[in-house]
Point group: C2
Chain length 338, copies 2
């Protein structure tokens, strides 16, 4: 691991983009050249990295020449256009968008769950959606011991998952409400302050929204378990950072809560916080800025003989996005894939 | 219905108590004498009713003499002490606490679901917990046509369900956050502003909290369906009024979303709002001050062949508490039970 990698971050000025620079610095990632790329709008801005200010440049096809590793955190359409260009230029693209996740030629990787899938890449590796990542990190270790047959998950997702504009909108609405001023709505479909919205992404014919469908398809692909039944209701809540999930799983064999707690306490990337009598359970507010997937409220699901219920919380900008991508890169270095 | 009833409201100064006076006025309930009762602390306060100010008196055993109907919205221990006294004095007690709900001699009534159970009363009738009421109003009409075998419900519950202190705490925390001041926590176990808490009520040995257990037991009793399997995760969210629920049910036979929508559009007390492509679905903010149980996001649950998923929202102070109790009283007048 002595060599360094030339790195580009495309989408450098967004919430996830800025988190990438913070995490590369925190983990002392072996960065050679570091290019901050974004849309033309952001040309001239800078992002902080190790005490310096990295200038942001408008991304162009030639921006990826000499780059070994490109972290993409941009919209699907930009990723669809630029990722093949970066890959052809010789970079490995680790992409955060929805553009490549279900492409059979693109591995969808959570290092704790399916590390070997990186080896199948052809230049592009996809990172799952935030809600999927934290759920599979907690469920895969259970699934290995006692296969999961069905998952029901209802989410409590922070506004940072919808980008900077949604965070600013929640803050502006809270300010307006405190000062008795009119509330303005533009980034999210309805007022989010003092409200919850069962709507993340666009709706399909079957009545599910895209965020829910991602949980279904991505979970199956990452866990190599095409037959797991999954249903979800994904809900935006007035929280800045940190997604919470109420999860109910059905296993092949009955299992005690103590057994699940034991498995998860040894699982990579998981921290168990489970002492509800002392009001100790994972909270979005505590997960902000942390790397772990926090699991608590672990109990036999009393509605099913092989059921387990739990509460899963993680920082959606870190493990749900930038951290997972950096961990994929670290894994690939260990695997000698650079 | 020409005669009037002498009415007492015990717990008159609380959030639900004040809602009782508003609803009795709105519905032009045939009120004779009206007594506002509370703890000694509230002696000397008043509550508004039809333009007058009703003085609040400290509740004593003799407070119920001459009373036909007593609405109780107090803690379990006070209800356990006072309800038998009021009943012996000749009043019918409609109680909102948890004290009597699972008592086999006490009917637990939601007028849209089990109206005939009122006839079994021996002086005390219990009203279910807020989360149960809105769920059974939406599920019972489906259950009648196609029996429900299992329910999984994850809730998004407003702070008003925890009383005035919790509402004031959320407001104070939001004010503090907007003004960059320290946040204080006392009414709820953790900061609720910009957070969600998977903890309502005390925890049992089985890992469920009391709010979750209420959903299990009350649903079975009200629906006369002791075999329905129920599991829940109940979560407090930073919303003032209005509880939301993500509900996943398993039916005896497969059913289309259109069939469910059709049943619910004719169901008493239910309003269907279900056009997600136009961002139309029930919202807590819209339910505040309304009488209906709002249902949307109705869809085949893709994780189960007989599954249906939906999103249920209602005003927890109204249908979830005071309105349901007043509707029970109206029903009993129609049934000639006064």
């Amino acid at each position: 691991m002595a060599r360094t990698l030339n790195i580009a971050v495309l989408g450098a000025t967004g919430l996830v983009g800025r988190t990438f620079f913070r995490i590369l610095e925190e983990r002392d990632f072996p960065v050679g050249e570091l290019r901050a790329l974004a849309s033309e709008r952001s040309e001239g801005r800078t992002v902080p990295f190790k005490g310096a200010q990295i200038p942001v440049h408008a991304a162009k096809p030639e921006s990826f020449e000499g780059i070994d590793l490109a972290f993409f955190c941009v919209d699907d359409d930009i990723s669809r256009e630029m990722a093949p260009i970066a890959a052809r230029a010789g970079a490995v693209v680790i992409d955060k968008s929805n553009a490549w996740r279900m492409n059979p030629d693109v591995p969808l990787v959570v290092p704790e769950v399916n590390p070997e899938d990186t080896r199948l890449h052809e230049g592009i590796i996809a990172g799952p959606n935030c809600t999927t990542i934290q759920m599979v990190v907690a469920l895969a270790p259970i699934h290995q011991v006692n296969p999961i047959t069905r998952i029901i998950v209802d989410s409590y997702q922070s506004v940072s998952g919808a980008g900077t504009a949604a965070v600013e909108e929640l803050d502006a609405q809270n300010r307006a409400l405190v000062n008795d001023e009119p509330v303005e709505v533009s980034a999210l479909p309805h007022q989010i302050a003092l409200n919850v919205l069962p709507h993340i992404g666009g709706f399909s014919e079957n009545g599910y929204c895209s965020e829910e469908i991602k949980l279904v398809n991505e979970t199956r692909k990452i866990m190599h378990a095409p037959d797991i039944a999954v249903s979800a209701t994904t809900v935006r809540v007035p929280v800045h950072i940190g997604h919470s999930e109420a999860v109910h799983v059905e296993l092949t064999e009955p299992m005690t809560a103590a057994d699940v707690r034991d498995i998860l306490s040894r699982a990579p990337g998981v921290a168990v916080i489970d002492n509800p009598a002392q009001a100790e359970y994972p909270l979005a507010l505590d997960a902000e800025g942390r790397d772990e997937v926090f699991v608590g409220r672990i109990r036999r699901d009393i509605s099913h003989p092989q059921g387990i219920a739990m509460w899963i919380v993680s920082d959606n900008l870190r493990k749900g996005a930038a951290l997972n991508a950096v961990q994929v890169a670290e894994l690939m270095m260990e695997q000698g894939l650079f």
